[in-house]
Subunit: 801 residues, 2 copies
């Protein structure tokens, strides 16, 4: 164990003293007024008990306390000039609120009067009484003993134990923080803002956290300690109030803010306390900001020379690009919150509640609520403002479709049950026709109409994205089918269409009845007739697709879902399967009904030929879904090649979405031009988890610290198969292109893993493209430490080691 | 290309000349009368066209024909003394009937009269006319030309092409024969049995093929060629007829039979032709025999010193041990065949057809026909004589259950449809109450009552099994739950119970209603009450299980299936899942309802304690199903350890049935005493194939040459994951026990793969135990070439290299 005084030369091994401790030492080094104290390095609290016996540990701490008494000219437990300290955890990675903190250690009935005198307060002043009351509540063990060192040992023990508390453990698991290491502890002399009018506490942001403008912004509570500000119990005053009351302190704060921002190269959020007119800084950290403020600040920082585009891309969170794109609920006035579910697709919307969209024909201002959704609901979902379901998880049908359309969606609305003509929970009944509002960003549902505002990218946001593109290796494509989706995707920076799900085209009002005819046909002749009728419709859809891509690469996937998904519920039974996810779907359909894929290929090639004749450039790929054996790929590749006009070039690829396809990726790669991971299905099969069903029990596993594998790619299971597949494919075909087109391709954490695999292209829903572009750049920078970048040029400079 | 004369010194590279060619050369070497001829090595027919130009090839063949003419003193195409030859394929591994054979090449309108004269026949004798007619039918190209060499080239070309015919390709794929290599070709002078009464053709077995007794057994057709015998167009005479007509030939046959049997060390099936009183041997091969004859012959051969127990175990087919155990249909008299399906569980049975077993209460002589079966049908299946379904594959529910009970079962009865009160195909209607017979060994269904005979092991069969046990490394356990199943399994040689599926216990008439109460309970208290009621029932079942194991190892698996499987169809909806196979099942139930596994453990431990107090020895293991993450195993292991009485020792193991569990087997093995592969589920997830649904389309894949992965383990997909899991598990825990308890554990081909993995224990349904014991021994011998064994002792001798 090591002990470092806050005001002293820091040890070199920075990690040992935690984020908070390092911040304090750094500020002290910069000459900023920080209360005296010392830091116990984290080994004390992980291996302490075994590495250091209790007596030695206490002797070291007593020695540090003695130094602190000398520095502060106060005595710990001393009646007339008592030293009062705080004991705070300080892990290497901040875990706000997860671990214990103890204030006012050293305050006892004996020292209390001395403290009052020292602070120039009456013994029974409100602040004194408050502190004593609170201490006896939060630290009841301080009532038992008059020995203040016992209090200190107790506080240190509890902080140590809180590292292993269930909530801290769950937080670390959820945020991917190591359970090793433990926490450092900061013991610091208390300063008191809860005294005269010349005292107080506040927080200052070095720039405006909502707008990003370069002005000090902050809040201040006179005569209060920090807890009062955090709890929201009292309404704070604006920072200008400090300027009025204590102009010298305000100007000191301004100087400190500038110093810290320049030192850290980013906007800071600084906690301060004023004790009898003296300013003390308690903490500084990266300031939280809105997405738009973040873009503004980033551009300013680069302009001011405090940051570079590269440092911005390395540090900004990719999720902000998704957050700021969706309509947002700007006011909850007049709304009654009636439940919460999974925030499956961000954005906010209001509309009339409906359970059955056919009852609301031609109306578009409705919110669709279903137990779950099916492909036959897609037209209603497209017309709706938003969707709520009572079941399903983050990658369920409803979530995927709504995210694709950029509309809000809330799944598994908790504790609500489906009844004939209403939906009910313990406290709320919901009837069709009611006006409701849903906030897909937070997962909350309200009764009433909320104020919703559309969001767009500012020029600063676009600039930051431009910087990111300069550092990116992976291409970012969109999953899209219709011209409007493609136009939106391209406006958001898509470099191609990585996945066109042709089944979505079969669900149009024109195509669906014909498709149903095909499925229910009992003879080959009837089937041929339906396909003949389907052909011109499919041709039109594919022509529109290829044309709207404007020469960008387009990957068309042949029909994938089980056929009964196209049937209305009443006619499903004939084709129903026990486990449709593992049933007659994907290229199994193509093998069974060669004429079905034949029709699709015919439609595709004739559309392509027409476009070429019209002078449109084409970059076409065909993707074969649900491959389980290289033989399937060979046979269908032959069919494609036999039907392809010789003048057309076209890549042919295999989806890797079955564990077996991953294991045999080498053999498949021998025949394929490219491979595309379908990470949803691969996750389902590797985990034995149905995305339609896992919502009912997976919360058990989250409680155990398991991550939802549909949200972020599972690196050790699914990821291990992907790694193996990439290795085997490249061993057989070194230059084969490999892409990811599952929902994970839009998730920054997963994108970081895909960079490890040197994936060539990621393809996600249009609304997730900006964050995917940014995340891909960030991943590249993170995995490529030798990238150099000059602040003035957003171009690409790689220097390898 | 090489050419070897049949009567000459053979080349050393035996594989090049095919099975048939080698047999002929071997017989010639032994002095057995074989018609003269020569063999073209197989390279001629694979690379021939590229390696050797056509002119050189023909020159070589012409040279060989010249030698043949000299040897036979006949001329090819010569008018007066014409040489007539057969051209036969001869691959390295025999593929009966799959490739082309041409007879009577050299017979033309010109040579025909010469042949007739040569054979002492009139030109228009029946045999001559027949031969000409048949030749012009089977080889119409012989009509076009008078150049007999053109006929020969044509025949050689067709034989070459037939190697790549679709049916030959499919056959090789189905039997795991390499597509490389090609076939050798035998060109041999024809001999004619279709002449005088002193001519004829026949087949002789060196021992009786049905009873195994050491007597010559055979059939003979006077004045006929071999084709007449094979086609069954004429009824043959017994071999004794040859003895009467041609006693010298008969005695010559006896000597040849003895020579060949001694030479090959096993019973032979010999084809012969008698031409004008002269005996010619055309082919010899391993004689086909009934299972019982096989045992008898094996014992005799060892007794006679012609074979050793090791050679018997190496060569006998393991499947015979399953075939001979089931009741067999001994006569089809009075039966009308009405359809065929998958032969899912062997044996034969007759009974009254029923669609709804409740209508036949207390009756047991019925055959149950269902679209498919569900766990709620198990009592009816147990009471039935056999089961037929209209859907499902080899490992579907019905197949697994019926195989477990050793009763016949036919699945996916082809082209039959389910109607309200009858089942129909194009040609047959089936109504409840009809007497029908099913033959689960062949998959055929008949109307009427067939003659069925029970089979048991003869003492010779037991002796052969005993020999096998001496060579076995893997232990063979049974999947069983009830005392009667366990007793049967032990009588068939089970060394333990490798899988007790506790869910089967919950399906008893007493337990099921209580289990249903538990599932449908809405409060924790109601659930606790149901579990309390279930406890004594489960205790009784587990007590009976452990007691009947008589000290053998028992592995009890905690509850595995999704809960709705326990509900009647009418109440399923509340719990129904889209993909139940990947749903809320296995240890997910244990994590969600700790009290459920708690009840099972309580019942198990109290039963075990009672038995220990009664002085019974216990060897208990607990198996946790459906593990997807090491964390699950740790938590449930803690629960088991917390409830386990300290006096009881008990291993705790994890099922590896998810790809992810296989990938993380190292981490799981760190905590587990043993691992057990559930190869059914592992196959479902690795292939993305639902065993309940794949029957509807997998025939497409069989036609492409893919093997059913539920029948034999898939070595490159599922097997690759198993290999990886074994490696990772043993790297972390070198002495961990690894077993297989899926249906594959009863399949000889899969067992051979498990020997490669050095699996410790295989556990299969009781009726498959004898063949599993034998297959395990065979696999061990095959993979361990340095095993030595003395004929006199059935014990284990290993000499490593």
């Amino acid at each position: 164990m090591r002990i470092s005084p806050i005001h002293g030369a820091p040890f070199l091994s920075k990690g040992l003293f935690g984020a908070k401790g390092n911040g304090l030492m750094e500020m002290a080094r910069l000459g900023i007024p920080v209360p005296a104290g010392f830091i116990l390095s984290k080994e004390a609290f992980t291996e302490g008990s075994s590495a250091l016996d209790r007596d030695s540990f206490q002797a070291l701490v007593r020695h540090a306390m003695l130094q602190l008494e000398i520095e502060t000219k106060l005595g710990f437990g001393q009646q007339d000039f008592p030293l009062i300290v705080s004991v705070r955890s300080g892990a290497e990675v901040s875990m706000p609120g997860m671990m214990d903190t103890f204030l006012n250690i050293g305050l006892t009935p004996k020292t209390y009067k001395g403290l009052a005198r020292r602070l120039g307060e009456s013994e029974d002043a409100l602040a004194m009484t408050d502190m004593m009351t609170q201490l006896s509540k939060t630290c009841p063990w301080t009532n038992d003993s008059e020995d203040v060192f016992e209090h200190l040992w107790h506080a240190l023990d509890l902080v140590k134990q809180s590292w292993n508390s269930a909530r801290a453990h769950a937080y670390r698991t959820a945020h991917g923080i190591s359970h090793q290491g433990g926490t450092a502890v900061v013991v610091q002399a208390m300063v008191f803002g809860n005294l005269s009018q010349h005292s107080g506490t506040g927080i200052v942001f070095t720039r405006h956290p909502l707008h990003g403008t370069p002005v000090l912004f902050g809040e201040f509570l006179p005569s209060a300690q920090g807890e009062a500000l955090v709890s929201g119990a009292r309404t704070p005053l604006p920072l200008s109030d400090v300027c009025d009351r204590l102009p010298l302190v305000h100007s000191q704060l301004k100087t400190i803010a500038k110093t810290l921002e320049q030192h850290y190269g980013d906007m800071q959020e600084i906690e301060f306390t004023i004790q009898h007119g003296t300013l003390w800084i308690l903490q500084t950290r990266l300031g939280k900001r809105s997405a738009e403020a973040g873009f503004h600040i980033a551009c300013d920082l680069v302009h001011e020379g405090l940051a570079t585009p590269q440092s911005i891309v390395r540090t900004m969170e990719a999720d902000v690009f998704t957050q700021c794109m969706h309509p947002q609920l700007v006011s909850q006035v007049g709304l009654e919150e009636i439940g919460q579910g999974l925030a499956a697709s961000p954005g906010a919307a209001s509309g009339l509640l409906t359970f059955d969209p056919s009852s609301l024909k031609d109306k578009t201002n409705y919110i669709l609520l279903r137990p779950e959704t099916a492909p036959e609901d897609i037209p209603a979902m497209m017309a709706s403002q938003g969707v709520i379901t009572l079941r399903g998880g983050m990658t369920s049908h409803a979530a995927v479709i709504m995210r694709g359309m950029g509309k809000p969606c809330i799944l598994s609305l908790e504790a609500h049950q489906w009844k004939e003509d209403h939906v009910c929970s313990k406290h709320h009944l919901l009837y069709p026709g009611e006006m409701i509002t849903l906030d897909g960003t937070t997962g909350r549902v309200f009764r009433g109409q909320g104020r919703v505002q559309n969001a767009t990218f500012s020029s600063e946001g676009l600039k930051v994205l431009d910087w990111a593109d300069g550092f990116r290796r992976m291409k970012v494509y969109a999953n899209a089918e219709t011209p409007s989706e493609i136009t939106m995707a391209q406006s958001l920076g898509a470099e191609g269409i990585g996945l066109c799900r042709t089944e979505h085209m079969m669900l149009s009002p024109q195509s669906l009845p014909v498709m149903q005819e095909f499925i229910l046909a009992s003879t080959k002749e009837e089937r041929a007739k339906s396909l003949e009728a389907l052909l011109p419709l499919h041709q039109n859809d594919l022509y529109a697709l290829l044309k709207s891509a404007k020469g960008q690469p387009v990957t068309v996937r042949l029909l994938d879902p089980p056929l009964h998904e196209f049937l209305p519920a009443s006619q499903k039974s004939a084709l129903s399967e026990v486990n449709p996810m593992l049933g007659h779907r994907g290229c199994r359909l193509g093998i069974h009904f060669p004429a079905l894929y034949g029709m699709q290929l015919h439609a595709l090639f004739s559309s392509a030929t027409r476009l070429m004749e019209e002078g449109t450039r084409l970059d076409l790929s065909i993707l074969i879904p649900f491959i389980m054996d290289p033989k399937e790929f060979q046979i269908l590749k032959q069919q494609i090649q036999a039907l392809k006009p010789p003048s057309l070039t076209c890549s042919i690829g295999a989806m890797i979405e079955m564990p077996r396809a991953a294991l045999l990726a080498g053999d498949i790669a021998q025949h394929a031009d490219f491979l595309s991971f379908g990470t949803n299905d691969l996750t389902q099969m590797t985990w034995g988890l149905s995305r339609d069903d896992y919502g009912s029990f997976f919360s058990d596993y989250k409680a155990l610290g398991l991550q939802d594998p549909f949200e972020h790619i599972d690196p050790i299971g699914v990821g291990a198969l992907m790694t193996l597949a990439c290795e085997r494919a490249r061993a057989r075909s070194p230059h084969i292109k490999i892409s990811v087109c599952g929902e994970h391709a839009g998730d920054p954490k997963s994108i970081s893993f895909f960079e490890d695999l040197r994936i060539d292209t990621i393809s996600c829903s249009p609304m997730r493209i900006p964050s995917a572009r940014f995340a891909a750049a960030q991943a590249y920078l993170e995995k490529s430490p030798h990238v150099l970048h000059t602040a003035s040029s957003p171009f690409f400079n790689v220097v390898s080691s």
